[in-house]
């Protein structure tokens, strides 16, 4: 320790294998080093990339028209012509599964963004200011937690999302909003507890002693240190929300024609499970694999960000 320079170089060499000597790395850099050697991370990334590509360019993956229903080919099993077969209405299941990716993913992504933003903002304010603001926000979140998700979504959607009304945008935004409205308390609680921990850290005390404004403390000191758990939650939630969309669509209150999604397909196929199981199997497989990929990614990220698990 007598020579601070050499001690630091040693520390860096130890952590960076000598290759990155002198190059600064943040905690995110550490997490990345941890992640890139994990097969689970790469598998989930590969699946998610593929799913994203399908969602953005469905035409590249399927040439058949997902909205062309021909009763003459109703419930035909998989064949060389239609890999996943046809469903009750004579729709090409493969084409619909490909074209349905976009709506499923969009609902998941938008709902996650909504939950993370709403939950984080309320959570960090609640954790930082405490007192009556925290009491009010926490009780409000308790009320939302108390509403069973499916029941709450059915109530919201049956009253707002009436059949034969509105286009795809309206249906999708209603589903997104109802998922976000019922799920934000989880993100808020995670953020709130992280904020309460961060608030008591000495570096926040030091910033206050310097005269930093509450905005600066929240943005510069607390947010970067509180974001990790919420990010981890969001990757897991994304998978869960895609599943939630499917649940709601299955129940007939979520997405519906003209929007195509995996949930819509599962809903359409559920009554013919014994005569045309392929129509149910393939969209369910897409759904399961995608949700699994996001949950695996969330797990990998959580382990990489949590120094205790290293």
């Amino acid at each position: 320790m007598s020579d601070p320079t050499s001690a630091t170089s040693e520390a860096v060499a130890e952590a960076g294998g000598g290759a990155t000597l002198g190059k600064p790395r943040g905690l995110m850099g550490d997490a990345w080093r941890e992640l890139r050697v994990r097969p689970l991370f790469w598998i989930s990334i590969a699946i998610i990339t593929l799913v994203l590509l399908i969602a953005i360019f469905p035409g590249l993956f399927a040439h058949a028209d997902p909205n062309l229903g021909m009763l003459s080919r109703s419930r035909k099993p998989p064949s060389g012509e239609a890999w996943f077969g046809y469903d009750q209405q004579g729709y090409d299941v493969y084409a619909r599964a490909i074209y349905g990716t976009r709506a499923s993913l969009l609902v998941g992504l938008l709902a996650t963004i909504g939950v993370v933003i709403l939950g984080s903002v309320l959570g960090i304010l609640s954790g930082f200011y405490g007192g009556w603001l925290d009491a009010v926000l926490s009780r409000v979140s308790d009320i939302f937690v108390g509403i069973p998700f499916v029941l709450g979504a059915i109530v919201i959607l049956t009253s707002l999302n009436t059949a034969g009304q509105g286009g795809a945008v309206r249906i999708i935004s209603l589903v997104v909003l109802s998922i976000a409205a019922l799920s934000w308390p989880v993100a808020m609680r995670i953020m709130r507890s992280a904020a309460i921990t961060a608030k008591q850290q000495d570096y926040v005390k030091a910033a206050r002693a310097l005269g930093a404004s509450p905005t600066r403390i929240i943005v510069r000191h607390m947010l970067p240190n509180c974001l990790a758990p919420v990010l981890v939650y969001s990757t897991i939630a994304l998978g869960a929300f895609i599943g939630a969309e499917a649940t709601l669509s299955y129940l007939g209150v979520g997405l519906r024609n003209p929007v195509v999604s995996w949930g819509v397909m599962i809903n359409d196929a559920k009554d013919y499970i014994r005569v045309a199981p392929h129509a149910l199997l393939f969209p369910s497989a897409f759904l399961t694999v995608t949700v699994l990929a996001f949950v695996m990614l969330g797990d990998a990220v959580r382990e990489a960000l949590d120094p205790k698990l290293r």
């Binding site: 630091t8 860096v12 600064p24 570096y203 005390k205 002693a209 404004s213 510069r220 000191h221 240190n225």
Partner: protein, 331 residues
């Protein structure tokens, strides 16, 4: 005698203990700091010692205005710092800074060293114009004995002693007149303690700083302090120059503390007059009546339970809060 830069008068900080979630009722008060008065002179170091839970750190927090005091006053250059608002408070922040105890939690792990030390300039842009900040940060790193090239590194790439130097550089950035050191070396290895202490000493000479140096280690305090105050359960029991406290202690608590300091001389073994205190520190929630030390004091009489001993000069030319203050050679 030098002029006082900080005059603390009857400072009290009680933490209410509440019960209930919605309808809170106060069921008691933790008397963390209970009527503390002292002067900090320009350019001096006032050591504050006492065992864990005696209110040292609370005193630091209140002096930094991180916690509002329950009552009492503190005059910084003659102005009551607890009444300052807005621009006056900003000026106060520039004049009083703190070095925190734990170098592992006092630096934001997501900020580079340059950002950490540069933050004071961002909060107080009038101190350094934008273009000169990077240069100032490098100078500060140099002043505290770190390599200015390490400006882009993150705190976790430094050792404990180096991190504490970064914390000192941050406190120094605004060129304060007073630095409150809240146990700045207690989390460090002994070998590094000395380096950081010497750095603090050098900086004091270079910048004319005044320190309030809080510690629980008497030898650490002696090394740096001009005057020493001894705290027990939220009150100051004795205050005097380093020589008065260490060579002529008059309060039984100070004597007990000093007798617990190991002496690196084997010939003294068994010949020293070791005072062993019995019992634990009473709860600050419900401190003893009269003299707070009476429950553990071998001199306690009836008067100790009824009358609070004032911190005043009785013997040996320095104030001591004991009815029966008398010198006793300890070492």
């Amino acid at each position: 005698m030098a002029e006082a830069i900080l005059e603390v008068r009857d400072l009290v900080k009680h933490f209410p203990v509440t019960r209930g979630v919605l309808f809170k009722s106060t069921v008691g008060q933790v008397r963390a700091v209970d009527g503390v008065s002292f002067d900090l002179l320009k350019g001096e170091t006032l050591g504050v010692v006492g065992e864990s839970g005696c209110g040292k750190s609370t005193l630091a927090q209140v002096l930094m205005r991180l916690e509002p005091p329950t009552s009492g006053a503190a005059l910084f250059e003659g102005e009551d710092m607890f009444k300052m608002r807005g621009p006056a408070l900003r000026r106060l922040r520039r004049n009083i800074q703190i070095v925190l105890q734990d170098p592992y939690t006092s630096l934001n792990p997501r900020m580079t060293v340059g950002d950490i030390i540069g933050e004071p300039f961002e909060i107080h842009p009038e101190v350094a114009p934008k273009g000169s900040r990077a240069q100032k940060v490098r100078e500060l790193l140099d002043v505290v004995g770190l390599n200015p090239e390490h400006i882009n590194r993150y705190p976790h790439q430094f050792s404990g002693g180096q991190r504490q130097r970064i914390g000192i550089a941050r406190a120094l950035a605004l060129r304060p007149k007073v630095i409150v050191c809240d146990e700045p070396v207690s989390a460090l290895d002994v070998s590094i303690q000395a380096q950081v202490m010497n750095l603090l000493g050098d900086l004091q000479t270079e910048f004319g700083l005044s320190y309030v140096f809080i510690a629980h280690d008497l030898s650490v305090v002696r090394h740096l302090s001009d005057r020493v105050a001894v705290m027990y359960l939220g009150k100051m029991v004795e205050i005097g120059t380093e020589e008065q406290i260490y060579e002529h202690p008059t309060h039984p608590y100070t004597q007990a503390l000093l007798s617990a300091v190991p002496v690196p001389d084997p010939t003294m073994r068994g010949r020293r007059d070791v005072i062993r205190l019995t019992g634990d520190v009473p709860s600050p929630l419900n401190p003893p009546s009269g003299c707070r030390f009476r429950t553990r004091c071998w001199k306690a009489q009836d008067i100790c339970a009824t009358e609070v001993p004032a911190l005043e000069v009785r013997v040996a030319d320095h104030p001591s809060a004991c009815h029966f203050a008398e010198e006793r050679a300890v070492v």
